[in-house]
Amino acid sequence: MNSRVALLTALLVAVAIVSGLAVGAVPLSPGTVIDGLRGQGDPVVRAILWDLRLPRVALGLAVGAGLAVSGGAMQATLRNPLAEPYLLGVSGGAAVGAVLATVAGVLAPTVMPLAAFLGAMGAVALVLAVARAAGGASDPRILVMAGVIVGAFCTAAIMVALATAPEGTVRGALWWMMGSLADATWSDVRWVGGYVALGGALLLWWGRDLDVLALGEEPAAALGLDVDRVTWRVFLVAALIAAATVSGAGLIGFVGLVVPSLVRTLGVTRVRQALAVSAGVGGALVVLGDAVARRIVTPAELPLGAVTALLGVPFFVWRLRAAAAR
């Protein structure tokens, strides 16, 4: 991997962490942040840092890394730069699971991630069923189209659930739709971080297979890959990671789309290296996005999903224009 890219990524992550810890309703200077992290200074500042901002930043890093790695793996697997958990309906399925649990009044923190996982897996099963019905369960283009259809279905399902939900639960359900790190706890960090770390490690281990898979079905088969088996193995792990991020922070779009694409423009072309860099850049992007969401309308907060979309859409338009110019 290009060492300059690795250094830039590390620097970006460091800047994001400091920004995430310093920005908020109570602004803190970098010096105060460092003192607080070392257990020195004002006890209130220490509490803000350790109980509120640090879990929030850690969860942001895990969620961003998970979304970026999941998006990068899906793009290589499906050989489509538009593939990512949000557009493929996987995140939508996870949100359906979470919203249905909220509307049903099941608010236990242990049940929510499970509901999101079940929703995501339901979406994957639906994507597979739609693709099979269209006659191409292993055709990447049909899978992407099936994902878009399932994503639209998930959005409709959430709308129906909200329209018929008791008034008190709508706000909680909306949280899943908008994406937020505001309720981050160390338990969330452990839960989401564990899945992202485990799933990410598996995807890195399969990095060589993903390089080959990105060549296309026939070249991959010529290089000894069991194309269908590897495709579904990677897709399922990427979907699990995406579901974990939704269970921890709700729907956060465009990170899985933008980050792998950005990393490729930096010249990181092999999938394993690209996933590693994407994890750092994705984590930093979500933490910085969260800092922006907290800073703009202090003491209120903007929805994180809206901020990442506002950052992601112009980037995507720029990428499309660059591609069209070639």
């Binding site: 290589a76 080959v212 296309g216 026939e218 010529a222 290089l223 000894g224 072309t269 092999r270």
Partner: protein
């Protein structure tokens, strides 16, 4: 060696089988060409070799004899993908049989170490530096987090040299011309290092000089002892270079033999359904097909 034995393939909802009892042998140390009109089943043979379609009957045996097989290979041992597989079969045995059941991952990789295929179409999702692209040919030889070995580096450099792509190893695959792209794909197959090479229309987009260079390369690879199976529409070049030609028509073998045996006017005219004459090139002595103008029925 590639031994195709009674191979039949039928695609779902197809009116007729894509292949119907096709049998031929591509020998080690020889250049074998499969020719025929569009839709005659040429690429289906390649797709069967890749495991992307399963035969409804018959087998393809990819053997290690002739070029010596894989080191340690025992003549006569088989690894089967179809019924009757040897459960205890090892990856280094001398022949692998593709039948109506899929190969397991270990055998699939063993096959890829022995058999390199350049498929007809290839559109990578993302651009790569040419050297990285060629290095992917070493995939069947490595696993997990293992990096490039000295043998990998040597195979990559040698493959690039032979396919004449060394000057643009640092360029991106997105910047290559059609001809350069085809040569880079051949280089990746050579880096794979097997003793059997299958190429599905590898000279598409190549100009005359590069096309001749490609055929010279395939011929040289065959002379070194490899089994080279070439699917091509370039009948005149095939007639000059191939030791053995298999002519397909609607999924069946219409003719099988040397250029002189297959390149006969009445045979080709019937198979291609177009008026033509076959003469002899005065410079090289090979049969030459000349399609006639304005007399076709299509």
């Amino acid at each position: 060696m590639i031994e195709v034995d009674g191979l039949s393939v039928r695609y779902p909802r197809a009116a007729r089988p894509a292949l119907d009892g096709v049998s031929f042998t591509a020998r080690a140390g020889a250049l074998t060409a499969v020719v025929g009109p569009n839709g005659s089943g040429k690429s289906t043979i390649v797709r069967t070799l890749l495991g992307r379609v399963r035969p409804s009957a018959g087998t393809i045996r990819v053997g290690g004899v002739g070029a010596g097989g894989e080191p340690g290979g025992e003549p006569g041992r088989e690894l089967r993908g179809g019924p009757g597989s040897e459960p205890g079969g090892q990856a280094g045995a001398s022949s692998i049989v593709l039948g109506d059941a899929p190969l397991d991952p270990v055998r699939r990789r063993a096959l890829a170490r022995r058999l390199a295929v350049v498929p007809q179409r290839e559109e990578p999702a993302f651009a790569l530096p040419v050297r990285d692209f060629i290095a992917l040919g070493r995939h069947p030889h490595g696993r997990g987090f293992g990096g490039e070995t000295a043998a990998d580096r040597e195979a990559i450099a040698s493959a690039a040299e032979r396919a004449a792509v060394t000057p643009f190893l640092a360029r991106s695959t997105a910047e290559l011309s059609g001809g350069e792209w085809q040569r880079v794909r051949v280089a990746r197959a050579l880096a794979q290092g097997g003793e059997v090479l299958v190429l599905d229309e590898p000279t598409t987009f190549l100009d005359v000089a590069h096309e001749m260079a490609a055929f010279e390369l395939f011929d040289a690879l065959a002379r070194e002892g490899r089994t080279v199976l070439l699917v091509s529409h370039q009948l005149n070049l095939v007639a000059r270079f191939a030791d053995h030609i298999v002519l397909l028509q609607q999924g069946r073998v219409a003719a099988d033999g040397s250029a002189d045996e297959v390149m006969r006017g009445e045979v080709l005219e019937s198979v291609y359904d177009w008026p033509l004459v076959v003469s002899r090139d005065p410079a090289v002595g090979a049969p030459v097909l000349v399609p006639l103008r304005g007399r076709g029925k299509r």
